[in-house]
Amino acid sequence: MPDPRPRVALFVTCLVDLYRPTVGFAAIRLLEQAGCEVVVPAGQTCCGQPAFNSGDRRTAQDLARRVVDAFLPYDYTVAPSGSCAGMLARHFPSLFEDDPTYRGKAERLAAKTHELISFLHDVRGMRQVQAAYRGIVTYHDSCSGLREMGVKAQPRALLAGVSGLSLVEMSEPETCCGFGGTFCVKYPEISIRMVSDKAKDIAATGADTLLAGDMGCLLNMAGRLKREGSAVQVRHVAEVLAGMADKVPPIGAGQE
């Protein structure tokens, strides 16, 4: 019997915190709809992935310790990002090979860390959302969510229940958009080429809305679509599932 009202710590993620607060509030609404008590631990900044993927292991360890200490007391840790959830769930333990105390703690945290949409669907058994969205959407499978956290069917299953929404697939929804954290500014030509290919694939679907579950990819794809003058609206999937798409303009869209 699962805990009737688990205490879920929301790992907001730095990009949602800085760029798209609405996603954080959408996550809270969805988690509460799924019967959870949501806590937002203070003092959270970043999962440390920029340091980890740049080879700065010590900084990554330091940030990881802070996250472990802040989030371990709760029943679950949930992030509206497959990438950050993947960092906690798949990589934190490997940072503490020489530190048995934190190794154990990191493993315990890893075991109860989830990406938001898969948590709602797989752990909380959510099958229906209370949301409406008029539009044809296409969904990009962000790499870490897909390959580290197994996020694939869950967002599609929940989107199917949004009234007014229909989903069309890209020809390559699982191909990387070219964001890759610091990759996008270290190798801009390659990154821009990759996101241009992605924009073509998105355009070919005829969808009017692009959804995904990771802010990094979304900023990248929205930025490219905007540069190309595309009218495709870009949003985090949680905004739509929580019925909050009317609360904020699409990513990269202005008020003019």
């Binding site: 800085l18 609405t22 905007k226």
Partner: protein
């Protein structure tokens, strides 16, 4: 040896992105490889389970590498062959040259071999008056064009049909210039006719090996053209060029890999030719070489044993990682600047030429993880690339802008109160500045981003600030 241009990866990549012919060739190969591999894997119910078995066989072999290599060498010698243990590329070149000289060789036919690229044997033989002739069709045209391969199993995948025709006309001047190349087969027929004479005239045949079998002392090659068989069967002397991690314990083990290799590589269930060679021709054999030499190369690989990079020694050179890599698909193999391209090259090249020269390669990855997801021996390629980044960071090889940027970011990220303050100010400002248009076309310090895409503007106040405000006001 292939000229090393890995330090110029960025310039190589920019050139590749602007090369229309290359882009056409890459666009053609991508759907071909990926769809075929997916279909082949789906068609074999135990494919996923075999990947685990294959990984475990390699791990076991690498844990007892000395034992299996000695067993293998003993079996080779028992079958009348000779093993030449070579610690370096230089030793391997010398060994091959000595064998060719002892055989009085003037021409040497060659099957496809990445080790031959790694040690640069063609240049070495030519410098000593011996003519090497590549017989794999792709390698053959690259030899005509004096280009290195850009892919492991499709070395000339960067070329289009008009490139083939042009090179053939320029090189085969003895053939009538008015001949026509209407289809792929015409190219094939011309190469086949010319190569047939070379096969018959060659004094020595050099092949690589996909596997070396300790139990029997056999070398295994797989090809689709049959050129490897003619290379190793017709000449008096057969040289197998192989690196130490090619050894597997038994014939049965080799069969596990054969079931994975072609499916992962080309999406075939099996390659057209799979040939096992054991020692020299015996009395009753209708054909086969009179001398059978194995030039067994280490070239730094034994140093990888016992390190995190040991996992890389499981690689069976199938090319699935590069066939599925979006970075490889964008820039092609030559941009990587050495013998081994794509994700496997981004891990292996730094071990073989030094991370100070090949440092770009493990960085030029989004860590999308597709390579690892298709690797038949489950090499954790992104993790190993990250290990290289860690070594670079430790050795201060990471570019200063990255280091300072990281240090500044880390300083704030480790001080949540200051981070909140700075983030609140910055996002508030950006949010106000970008509100009308919703995105920035240009921002100072963000030119890498804004060169080809806008930077979306933030909503304004950060989540944590807005959340704290709601809590204070009792609305949450």
């Amino acid at each position: 040896m292939v000229h090393l241009t890995s330090p110029a990866f960025k310039a190589n990549a920019a050139r590749a992105l602007a090369d229309a012919g290359l882009q056409r060739a890459l666009a053609r190969s991508k759907p071909q490889f990926q769809a075929k591999r997916a279909k082949a894997a789906a068609g074999l119910p135990e494919f996923e389970a075999l990947r685990d078995v294959a990984r475990d066989i390699k791990n076991h072999t690498l844990a007892h590498l000395d034992f299996y290599l000695e067993e293998y060498a003993a079996k080779v010698e028992a079958a009348g062959g000779k093993v030449h243990w070579c610690a370096t590329a230089e030793e391997a070149r010398a060994a091959v040259l000595a064998i060719c000289r002892a055989a009085g060789a003037r021409t040497v036919t060659k099957g496809k071999s990445m080790i031959s690229e790694e040690i640069g044997i063609n240049d070495h033989l030519e410098a000593h008056g011996i003519t090497p002739i590549e017989t794999d069709l792709g390698e053959y045209i690259l030899q005509l064009r004096r280009e290195p391969p850009s892919h492991i199993i499709g070395p000339a995948f960067h070329l289009n049909r008009e490139d083939w025709e042009k090179s053939f006309r320029e090189s085969h001047t003895e053939l009538p210039p008015e001949r026509e190349f209407r289809e792929r087969r015409d190219i094939l027929t011309e190469a086949r006719t010319l190569l047939r004479r070379k096969f018959l005239a060659a004094d020595v045949g050099i092949t690589g090996a996909n596997f070396l079998i300790a139990e029997t002392g056999s070398s295994v090659i797989v090809t689709n053209e049959g050129n490897g068989d003619l290379t190793q069967t017709l000449p008096r002397v057969h040289i197998v060029l192989a690196s130490i991690e090619k050894v597997v314990p038994t014939l049965e083990d080799a069969c596990v890999f054969l079931r994975l290799l072609a499916r992962s590589a080309t999406g075939q269930d099996f390659s057209v030719y799979t040939t096992f060679s054991t020692g020299v021709r015996r009395e009753a054999d209708p054909d086969g070489p009179h001398e059978y030499h194995v030039v067994l190369l280490d070239n730094g690989r034994s140093n990888m044993v016992g390190t995190p990079f040991q996992d890389m020694l499981r690689c069976i050179r199938c090319s699935a990682c590069m066939n599925h890599c979006p970075v490889y698909q964008a820039v092609g193999g030559h941009a990587y600047g050495w013998v081994y391209p794509g994700p496997m090259g981004s891990v292996l090249t730094p071990t073989l030429v030094g991370v100070e020269k090949a440092g770009h390669l493990p960085n030029a990855s989004t860590f999308c993880g597709k390579c690892e997801s298709v690797c038949p021996v489950k090499i954790p390629l992104p993790k190993l690339m990250r290990h290289w980044r860690e070594r670079e960071f430790e050795r201060h090889l990471t570019p200063p802008t990255t280091r300072y940027g990281l240090r500044l970011w880390a300083w704030f990220a480790q001080r949540p109160a200051l981070y909140r303050l700075a983030a609140g100010l910055a996002m508030g400002l950006l949010g106000r500045l970008g509100r009308r248009r919703g995105a920035f076309r240009f921002l100072p310090f963000a030119s890498g981003w804004t060169r080809g895409r806008d930077l979306p503007a933030p909503e304004g106040p950060t989540f944590l600030a807005a959340y704290a405000k709601q809590r204070r006001e009792g609305t949450r």
